[in-house]
């Protein structure tokens, strides 16, 4: 007998270990669910970790109001299927209540506004651990992130003062009012996620597969035409066959020209592509360290 796990099974085992550690160490964890493939993977792994029990924490969706409608449909069907409890934090509500002010101008986005709503939702639910599907290969500031990432009472990340993580030992100790962000799939790459989702035959939102959509080009990125984006003069809307590589707000998620109709096509595309996954995310391009800056304030 050859006692060897292939790399996906080893990653799976590591993630399940982290998920169980969270359930054991924290009183009131929550899983941040965006509707993207990484959070779908998280839900799938959580089902495995606690089988035959139910997932022992609710899902939290920060709804910017600028979602692709397909995302919401998928979210609701997943909630029904798993029997998980869903909590929605609404950016629109926080704007309506006058807590926050909408960004103005052509490139206006609600990306930054999510942070406050997220922090308010965590505080309101008294959550002491927020599970997220961020991966270290996504972005250079995330490459420095821990599995158990400590946040102070303002929800802030201090990258220079992170707790060391060794072996299988995760220190989730904290003071009252502080919380942890926890990233069980830190070590997965984009290709790992796709291969695993294919292997496990996980159902995915249609947005990930090639479909016809009205789009226009801005600064080299194709954006979906929708009511939330004000177009500049000269930006022409055309119908093209595209798909999403990541799913975020319609205002900042670029779509890609693609013919990938199956998960197998996607794997082939990912394996041969020359652009990073977040290359289509205009929210990352605002400056060289825009992810680090946002993370320090409490972003995902």
């Amino acid at each position: 007998m050859n006692y060897q796990l292939n790399h996906l099974r080893e990653l799976e085992s590591e993630s399940i270990f982290i998920l169980r550690e969270v359930a054991a160490q924290f009183e009131n964890p929550v899983l941040m669910f965006s509707g993207g493939k990484d959070s779908i993977l998280m839900v799938h792994l959580a089902k495995k970790a606690f089988f035959p029990g139910k997932i022992p924490f609710p899902l939290l969706h920060i709804d910017t109001g600028h979602n692709f409608p397909e995302t919401i449909e998928y979210r609701d069907s997943l909630v029904e299927e798993t029997g998980a409890r869903l909590i929605v934090g609404s950016v629109q509500d926080s704007i309506d209540e006058g807590v926050q002010v909408e960004e103005q101008g052509i490139n206006a986005s609600r990306n930054g506004l999510q942070t406050n709503v997220l922090l308010a939702s965590l505080e309101k639910g008294k959550f002491d651990a927020a599970l997220g599907g961020a991966r270290r290969d996504e972005e250079k500031a995330r490459a420095k992130e821990r599995f158990f990432s400590h946040r102070d009472e303002f929800g802030q990340w201090d990258p220079k003062n992170q707790r060391p993580e060794l072996w299988n030992l995760f220190n989730g100790k904290k003071r009252f009012g502080e919380h942890f962000r926890i990233f069980p799939i830190s070590n997965w790459t984009e290709l790992d996620v796709w291969q695993y989702l294919a292997l496990e035959e996980v159902r995915l939102p249609n947005l990930y597969f090639a479909h016809k959509r009205k789009v226009f080009e801005r600064d080299g990125t194709l954006l979906a035409d929708c009511d939330y984006i004000e177009k500049r003069p000269g930006e022409v809307v055309k119908e093209m066959t595209v798909r999403c590589r990541t799913i975020g707000d319609m205002t900042c998620t670029g779509v890609w020209l693609s013919k990938a109709e199956t998960i197998g096509d996607i794997i082939e595309e990912v394996a041969t592509t020359r652009m990073t996954e977040r290359g289509g995310r205009t929210d990352d391009k605002r400056s060289e360290t825009s992810m680090e800056d946002r993370k320090k304030l409490g972003y995902f």
């Binding site: 590591e14 359930a23 270290r136 290969d137 992170q162 220190n171 290359g279």
Partner: protein
Amino acid sequence: MSLTDEIKKELDNTELLRFTTAGSVDDGKSTLIGRLLYDSKSIYQDQYEAMEASSLRRGEEGVNLALLTDGLKAEREQGITIDVAYRYFSTPKRKFIIADTPGHIQYTRNMVTGASTANVALVLIDARHGVVEQTKRHAIIASLLQIPHLVVCINKMDLVDFREEDYLKIKEDFEKFASRLEVKDLHFVPMSALLGDNVVDRSENMDWYEGSTLLYYLENVHIGSDHNFIDCRFPVQYVIRPNTDEYHDYRGYAGRIAGGVFKKGDEVMMLPSGFTSKIKAIDTIEGEIEEAFPPMSVTLLLEDDVDVSRGDMIVRVNNKPNNTQDVEAMICWFGETPLQEKGKYALLHTTQDTRCMVKEVRYKLDINTLHRNLEEKTIKMNDIARVVIRTTKPVFIDEYRQNRITGSVILVDEATNNTVGAGMII
């Protein structure tokens, strides 16, 4: 063949290899990683373009591959690596996780962190300078942390005109020094990370070298025996009790195998209670499996209704860990306040969370020379010392050299909750 079958087939032989690199500002560590990623085609076009633009802004010649690994603002500004950064690349044979750590003495704790889970350690030597204090420090840390394989990368060979004598001299010096360490598998590669010689592609400038390139080594080194498959250890992590009609009496002990191979029907003992029972089933969502081995996460079901909870350990009746309150360990100190002799700390070991007192500092280890300083009792950040610890309740430990999971502990400051020490049990 269906897609799932195709992926399964492709995955049959793809192992995960974790390696760590330690190096200082100047010995080309970031360039080496950049080279591995670039030559194995793991750098994307937009990343490359961003680096190109950044290099140009800094007024540097050519593309600075080091910019790829230095992610934090302060690191990019100062041109140094402060924290552990994780990088990923894969080849058809293996998937690699790099823990990239800074090499300066003030970052010993980061090196220890990166080394704790590594299968392979890369130690870089600048061919112009040979074995220096820092080289020794990195090798000592790799040996203390029991990294099974050590690769000495003799870099910047281009700056010594690719001379074999220079390589051989450094190799001999290192071997002489390493004979005092516990290194099981030692390997040398002469290279130029800047020019790409012997990193991924064979060097045309060093035809006297007949060994493998660095990537070939990383793809082929045998890591199948890096886990302990002999001594059965299952730290109970979480108890699964669904309380549904369908699973009314279900009581599953969830955890990750830390050592040995557990099989259905095995007679097992619970620690600390000492009760025995048999494994009724090894459960997963896909159904029951016959056996489980490290590092699998599984759920064990027992024949008898015994009281087991998080922090307990399931072992084989005739092969038990040391059940004790006295722990002797080499400890690397991480805390800003020095280690307090007679000081009390929280201690985490496997899934146990207990308290302890550091009874005695036996000696401080000079990590440049291996000298044991019996007089020095003040252990500050980045120091390594041998200590005697007394825990408030029994822990189930093995020697670190036998098992890196059941042989390691961390100490936590109870006032700040910071992780202040990492210990390897002797």
